[in-house]
Amino acid sequence: MRKTARSAAAIAALLTALFAASGCATTPASQCELSGTRDLGASIASAKSRLGEGCVAHFDRYMDQLIDVAAGDPTADNKQAFSDFLLWTSDQGLLSRRQAQETWNRYFNIKFVSLRGDYNNCAQTCPVKARVMADMESELADKERGLLQAALDQESYYRADRLLKETELVLEATCRACAAGGR
């Protein structure tokens, strides 16, 4: 009986040590909250601090909150602030360079991250055209928050909006032509 209790205590100690070593999992959600400031610089500093303390799992939520904060004080400089923040996450090894690029481009570039690939359109895009268009629609909503609301870049946002419509038309025609070639 005493032997069993000792084994259970050992297992519990081992589990505690494992959780402690994994960092993120041991950080309680309450400790991963960002500071309530509406200043973007201070919010980014808070996010960096939390991410450094092991709250990496909360990155998407931080990004969402930071965009909201930026929309409260929109300026063209916000693009750079986010770029610097994402470069920092990449340098710290929290995100890969590719993830950092995808995140920045999703919010602040005219071009669509959803429309990428290494193969030709007939082979890659056309079979999943409906999904690609749905993803682009969703990305346009993020560009609205990033380009339009956070960075006040109306020109780029409206160009992205038009690019989406042109892509829809061109893919409609191109995919029909691709399908006709396979008849």
């Binding site: 770029s83 920045w104 409206y158 893919l171 409609e172």
Partner: protein, 277 residues
């Protein structure tokens, strides 16, 4: 050493090599070095577009009066409250006139349809081949969106071709515009040309379907005539054919829905992130 620099010292080269240099340099000087250009509108496609426009014009002029008469008779039918009034001799007469005019429209179309069908299908097929090759097989999704965005300098006004079905123009006018746009365009409007090519191709597909429907309707109407059945009233099928013809040929159903335009450029140099693709 760049190719052009090497060729500048062509005096020292053998004549054959010098000629090869000139041949190799010409595309660089004419701008081909900016990247592979889109071959969406070779001369054959341009000729097809031009011919389709001419055939459409002939068809329009043949049908314009008939369709106007059909509209007037239909209006009279409605105003006279002839709906369901089968026993009224006046209404019966209007109905017969409607049927006769409708038959006249179908006859005129059947005369013009073979030429129109040939022109439409030829344009559609040649554009189909070009679209498949240039945008479908030679481009990745990323290069496609780069092509659509073009290489416009910041703040320069963008060229925006009208999107399909929204021009409110006659088919022949639309083709005239297409032809002019394509024939006069330079390399810097490739992004617009991709849109225009797609636009024309989808228009041709639609027109091709309409032609098939119309031919079917002509066959059906002829059969009814042979069975000595009068039309009586314009059926929904007949109305759909008339509306389709009006929409495609005269652009009457189209509403101009403009896309949101960009605000005037601020002139400031935009921030470029090191993360930007």
């Amino acid at each position: 050493m760049k190719l052009t620099d090497r060729c500048r010292s062509g005096r020292d080269l053998a004549p054959a090599l010098a000629i090869a240099c000139i041949i190799a340099t010409v595309p660089l000087l004419t701008g081909a070095a900016r990247g592979p250009s889109l071959q969406l509108f070779p001369t054959t496609v341009l000729e097809d577009i031009k011919e389709t426009g001419q055939v459409a014009e002939e068809m329009e002029s043949g049908l314009q009066d008939i369709i106007a008469r059909l509209d007037r008779q239909q209006q009279l039918h409605v105003q006279s409250k002839c709906e369901g009034a089968t026993d009224d001799p006046g209404c019966a007469q209007i109905s017969r006139q409607l049927g006769t005019t409708y038959m006249e429209m179908l006859e005129t179309m059947s005369q013009r349809l073979p030429d129109m069908e040939r022109a439409v299908n030829s344009t559609r097929d040649s554009l189909e081949t070009r679209l498949r090759a240039e945008l479908g097989l030679k481009m990745t999704p990323w290069t496609l969106q780069e092509t659509l965005l073009g290489q416009q300098p910041e703040g320069s006004p963008s060229v925006e071709p009208k999107l399909r079905g929204r021009s409110g123009l006659r088919l022949s006018q639309r083709f005239r515009q297409y032809y002019q746009l394509v024939a006069q365009s330079g390399r810097n409007t490739e992004h617009s040309l991709a849109v225009v090519a797609s636009d024309i191709y989808l228009d041709m597909e639609e027109a091709s379907v309409l032609i098939a429907q119309t031919r079917e309707e002509i066959g059906r109407a002829t059969l009814l005539e042979e069975l000595n059945q009068s039309f009586g009233v314009i059926t929904p099928e007949m109305q759909a054919v008339v509306d389709g013809v009006k929409s495609i040929l005269f652009g009457e159903a189209g509403q101009v829905v403009e896309l949101a335009g960009p605000p005037p450029g601020s002139g400031e140099v935009a921030y470029q992130s090191p993360l930007e693709w």
